[in-house]
Each structure stands twice: as C-alpha cells, then as structure tokens.
Symmetry: C3
Amino acid sequence: MEGIDASTITRILDKAEEYVEKNRQVDKKSKSLTGRTLINLFFENSTRTRTSFELAGKRLGMDVINISAQASSISKGETLLDTAMTLNAMQADAIVVRHPSAGAVQLIAEKTNAHIINAGDGAHEHPTQALLDALTIRRKLGKLEGLKVAICGDIANSRVARSNIYLLKTMGAEVTLVAPPTLMPTGVAGFGVKHTIDMRAGLKDVDVVMMLRIQHERMAGRGIASVRDYFHSYGLDRTKLSFAKDNALIMHPGPMNRGVEIDTDVADDISRSAILDQVEMGVAARQAVLELLLGS
Amino acid sequence: MEGIDASTITRILDKAEEYVEKNRQVDKKSKSLTGRTLINLFFENSTRTRTSFELAGKRLGMDVINISAQASSISKGETLLDTAMTLNAMQADAIVVRHPSAGAVQLIAEKTNAHIINAGDGAHEHPTQALLDALTIRRKLGKLEGLKVAICGDIANSRVARSNIYLLKTMGAEVTLVAPPTLMPTGVAGFGVKHTIDMRAGLKDVDVVMMLRIQHERMAGRGIASVRDYFHSYGLDRTKLSFAKDNALIMHPGPMNRGVEIDTDVADDISRSAILDQVEMGVAARQAVLELLLGS
Amino acid sequence: MEGIDASTITRILDKAEEYVEKNRQVDKKSKSLTGRTLINLFFENSTRTRTSFELAGKRLGMDVINISAQASSISKGETLLDTAMTLNAMQADAIVVRHPSAGAVQLIAEKTNAHIINAGDGAHEHPTQALLDALTIRRKLGKLEGLKVAICGDIANSRVARSNIYLLKTMGAEVTLVAPPTLMPTGVAGFGVKHTIDMRAGLKDVDVVMMLRIQHERMAGRGIASVRDYFHSYGLDRTKLSFAKDNALIMHPGPMNRGVEIDTDVADDISRSAILDQVEMGVAARQAVLELLLGS
C-alpha cells in the first residue's frame, strides 16, 4: 500500500462493490478472466487468505493452482527465485505470494513477468487486507476520510497494521496506534500517526477499533507477563470499548484469539462487530485486484 | 440419517441414479450448480470421501475448495466455529465437514446459513456412506425392503454402522450386528436390531454382508489378542460367507485391511463383491445430495 | 519411453506445438476434454510436475483432483492397488502417478481401465520429462536426429536419464553419459550409448548438455568427498561448457542445486540456458499426451 494513491484505492474499492453484490447471488461466477491462470504460492499457512484468493480467482473464471511451502521444491533446496521463475514459465498470469520474509514478494516481482500479488511478506505489508478493511469501513460508515481509527496490539510485528496505516493516511483518516511499549515499532514517531500505550486514551472517540492478532510466542521476553495481563491491559472488552464512539466498528483480521486480544462478548456483538463482514469483503476486494490487474 | 424418512431417502436414491448414468459418459459435467461454492472442510484425513465430494461438486459445475485441518487456522488456535463462520462468510453454498468429534457438524450447522453436509463426525454418523450403500444394494438386489443385512466388525466405534442402521431400518430391511463383545456398543439392545457375537449365526441367510474397517490401534486392551485371532473369528472368508445366501453381496466402506477384517479372495470376488460399486455410487449419491439441497 | 516409436513421439511433439502457442495467449483454455476427470496421484512430492499436469488438465477443460501420499489412505494401510482401483471406480479418465518404486505405475495400469500416465516411478522412467526435453531441443535446434547430447550426473539413479536415453536413441540422436564411476549405472555398456567419467571428454562438440539433479544424500559413501569436489569434477561451469559446441543448449530438469551440479552463471545465461523453456514445454507436452490419449 505504500505509495498507492487515493484514486487507485478508490477505483479498487468501487470495483469490489460490484463483486460484493455478485457474490450474494446464487450464481457467483463471472467469466471476465476465463482461461487465465492464478497460482497461490504460500510459504506460510493461511487458510483464510489462501481460500479467499482461491475463491476470488475461481469466481472470475480462472484456473487456480495452490502450492504450499511444505510441498514445494523449496524443501529440495531450490531457491525462492527458481521456484517463482518456474511458475512464471508455466504462463501463470498472476502469482499470489505469502512469505515469512519482508521483501521476498518484491524480489519475485522484479524477476518475473506474471502479476505478483503480495498476500503478506514478513512484518512488511499485507495490502489486500488493508483494502478489504477499507471496503468494510466505507460500506459501514460511508466514508474513510476524517474517520478516527485505532489500531491496537502487536504493531511492531504486524504487516496488517503497516498496510492499514499507509492506506488510512492516504485516504484521510486519522490513525492512532495502541500497543505496549515492547510491541510498539521503533521509529513510530516518524509514521505520521498518533500513538499511545494507554488503550483507553487511544480509543477515545474513535470510529473504528482495529484489533490485531497477538502471537502467543511473541509475548515471552517482551515484558508481557501472561495472557491474562495482556488481556487486562490491551484486550478489547466492553469497558475499554466504552471509550470509543457509541457505534464504533469492531474489526479483527482473524484468526481471533478469543480472551487474549478480544473478548468473546465484543467479538460476537452483531450490532458492532464487522469481523465477518471483513471476511466477506476479502473475496470481493481480491476479485477487484485481479480484475483490475488482468482484465481487459 | 437419524430421522430421515423413507420418501426422502428414495428421492435421493432416485436422483442419484441419474448421476450414475451421467458419470459413465465421456462428458460427466452438468451445469446445474454452476457458480455455487462447495468447501470441503476435513479435520480428519480421508482421500476417498474428500475426493468423492470434490468430484461430485465439480461435475455439477461448482467451484470446490479443499481445506484440511493441518493447514487450517485451527492450528493457530482459532475455534471450530470461527473457522466455520469464516468460510460461511465467504458465501460458501455448502460446506462438507468431517470431524473427529460426534456432534461437531451439528454445532456448525446451527451457526451458519450454508448447507452443512456431514462427511463423518466421530462415532456418530456418516450419512452419505449409508446413502451410497443403499444405492449399491438397491441397484444390485432391486430393493431394500425385506432384505437381511449383517453389519460386522467394530460396531461400537463405527459411524458407518450407525448411519446404515438408521437407513436400513427406515427402509424396511432387517439388520443383524455382528461384533466381539468388546466392540459391540453398549445399549445395543435398544437399537431395534438383532445382534450376535457369533459371525456364522449372524451371517445365516443374509442378503448382504457389510464389513467394517477395524482400526488396528483399537484392538489392544479390547480382549482381541491379535490380528490373526480377529481374522479367525470375525474376518470375512469363504467359510463364514458360506452361511449367507448364495448370492449375498459383499460390501466394505474402505479402505480395506486385507487379511484383517476381510480375506483378499472374498474382497476380489467379482461376482459377489460390491466394494468398487460402492465407490462409484458414492460420487453419484453425493451429487444427488448436493443437487437436492442446492438445486432450483 | 521404452518401446515408443519415432512416429508416435513425433505425433506428440507436433500436437504439443499447438499448445505452446495456445498457452501464450491471454485465454489459455480449450474445451477439448471438458467433463473428463484427471487425478494426480503423487506418492512423492513434486511441485513442478504436479503443477504442470494440473495446469495441462485444467487448460484442456478437465476436472482435476490432487492426491498426495501423506493425505491418502495409504497411511491407513490400504494397498497401492486398492487406492488406484478406488480412484478408477470414481470414473477417473486419467490418473497421473508418481511413485518411489520402479514398476508401481505399470502395476496400476494393468489393474485399471483409466489411462495411467507415469509421472516418474523410482529410478525407472519419467516419460513426459523426456518428451518436454525433446520438444525443447527440437524447437531450439530444429531437429533431434543427428544431434550429440551429453547427459551428466547421477545417471544410475535417474529416471530422467533413462527416459531421455530411450527417446533420444529412437529419434536418432547420439547420447553420451557422463558420471563418476559410482553414479554410472551397472550395465551401461549394454545401453547402446557412449559413456565416460571425464566430463570434458563427454562434452566435446555436443549440441546439448543435459545436467541432472544430484541428491545430496546420495553422495555419502559413493566416493564423492564433498559438494565442492563434485562441483569441481562434474558441475557445469564455463570452463567445462567451453568443450561443447559454441551454441550448445544447457538443460536441467529442475529443481536445480546451484553451485552443486550447475554454476549460477551458466544456469542463468539467457542466450544458452533452455531451463525455463523446458518448464514451459512441460505443460504443452502434457496437454498433448492427455489430448492424444483421451481426445476424440
């Protein structure tokens, strides 16, 4: 999302709206990308994102191939670029890549002529997540500009946070980052957003609360004594939520750790939680990206 | 199958007949469910059942997505219901679920609006197996009503047995369960079927012998000394089979443990064994279920 | 490839040419095999070959199912033939099989009526690799007859070498095998080809240098002291390549071990290396095989 301008983002979101409607029909299939090849190349597991892209491709008429790292030639010692160039040579039109290393997707993009779509690279970016989040907010609240959005949790390690910061700033929203000191990125002062270690202060009067998934294994040695302590200070519950605006949206990219970063009561509040809407918007947003990259 | 009435079963079997014929053509594809989404969500491995549903969906024109537990978000701590509701939010029209726990599929069905199809839940039910078995019998013997059917093996742990008992009783067949005492379910007296620990007595004059797969690991501590002992008492061989009617059908849901619950000579008897017919009928039966649930 | 005559090979290569062109179009899809079922049954991992067959099938309009050994009933003790006959009973039109044991694919072919395609069986054959190699050479050099081809590396364990030897001899090429004594097959004298342990001598004036992948784990105890020693004697680098003809093609079936059997500088030489062409030709060659086996 870094460097993507507002008109491009708006064009993607507008296109995605068409697919939201289409996906609610009995026949969800369009033929705009019939005969094109989409390869999902995942070096990290992700049911949600892989399935979302697979559905997006298939509903556009594409042939979709899934490759997971475990099954790949990587385990035979092949380099990342050789794997990518091999798939490219099979005339893939688009390759969706998830990789644990920041920059890996960019590297592939430079060496292939297929359209390369970043489905998450290390702690760098996860652009389609930011797009689907923006689509969800825009549909629920009617706009992005001028909204106050809090992003809460493990900001330092989160590609979701990073992509959302780029997009939300570009679209004129005001972002506040909330995290314990050990999970706040170094250099946050240069991000052009507010930040605080006090969740109540961070949620004050916001329109949107975006929670992030916390990785249990990252807690150790970060000054977070326990899950219980984390939930007490940074888990979204009714009390902390009460500092936000009355109708503030609750968002989470999933999969959720209930009782860790978010309380079940809040996650399942059908009048406030947009978590399942995000999932629905994910397929449509990815269809829009594919269509705009590959369509005529 | 519990609670499914005879007319519904007959309607499914009649519809399945159409697909048996269609699947024998060069072009096996119909378009009745084009543009619908089928998700195979398997928390236990099963090549046979997963492939059967995948083919059923694809041959009806559906977009089919496979998700296996290993690759799923479950391994990231997400709850079963969150996984299911996520897939539901992607506008899955049908989700086929296999799960090691009895009742898990019902739980999902209550929380989603997709059609949920049980592909086996713990030791509870495996309804499409019963349907394909019924289709196989009806095609081979012309009817279900009045037939004598023996179900033999690990009844206590078998969802296949349970679903077949419900269906066969509903359709007017007479069922006899055959198992060693340790593998006979408690409460069998209330099942409304005959039962015996003597396989020869149980096979006396039956029209159909349904063998069940025995799990090696379940033998230990159940009073079964060895595979050899089990085969001696409960493995289907020529001698025991001779107690059944001359043309009795031999059935097995697969995968077979040859030399454990069934003798190779009997399994491969092309004049009697319906084991590969069962596999063929499986695809057609699942197409019928999908078509009747989702079709116009 | 053993026993396949020159006219059959030529017919496959000619048909493949059509798909090379088709795959370079925006819409790569043809409908010649619509409604047919292709099953990829892989008992060894192979991203490259599995993906190539999957794309070949899908681009011809087939429904394609992937089965990997880990997920298969094999792990439940089912025999290889029972697995194959089960898939056959589901009306598979073609089953693509990769198996670690030589002869396994033939065994399956004898017991099923689906078309069985060998995607590599042990150290025996990998016929579609030989076909794609031939297609690559014929397109680059205009012919096969009369060419001098060196095949270098672990000949003893290579199904790729074996299939290429059969095909190249049949088509009138002159083959030289290059390998260290411990990786030269016993009985090489009866192969009807030249052989040498001196790579420079083996590459003298050849038109094509086919490198083979070396399995690290096979080096130990074979008199090969280290990767460095192997590369020194048998790795393809500029110096050794200089013994071949000026425009000699560089080939490798992939995945490559850069710095082991091939130098990066040589592998990436766009004026000489046909390695990515081989990948591209792989899809087309497999489409040709499917079309000729299953088409009307």
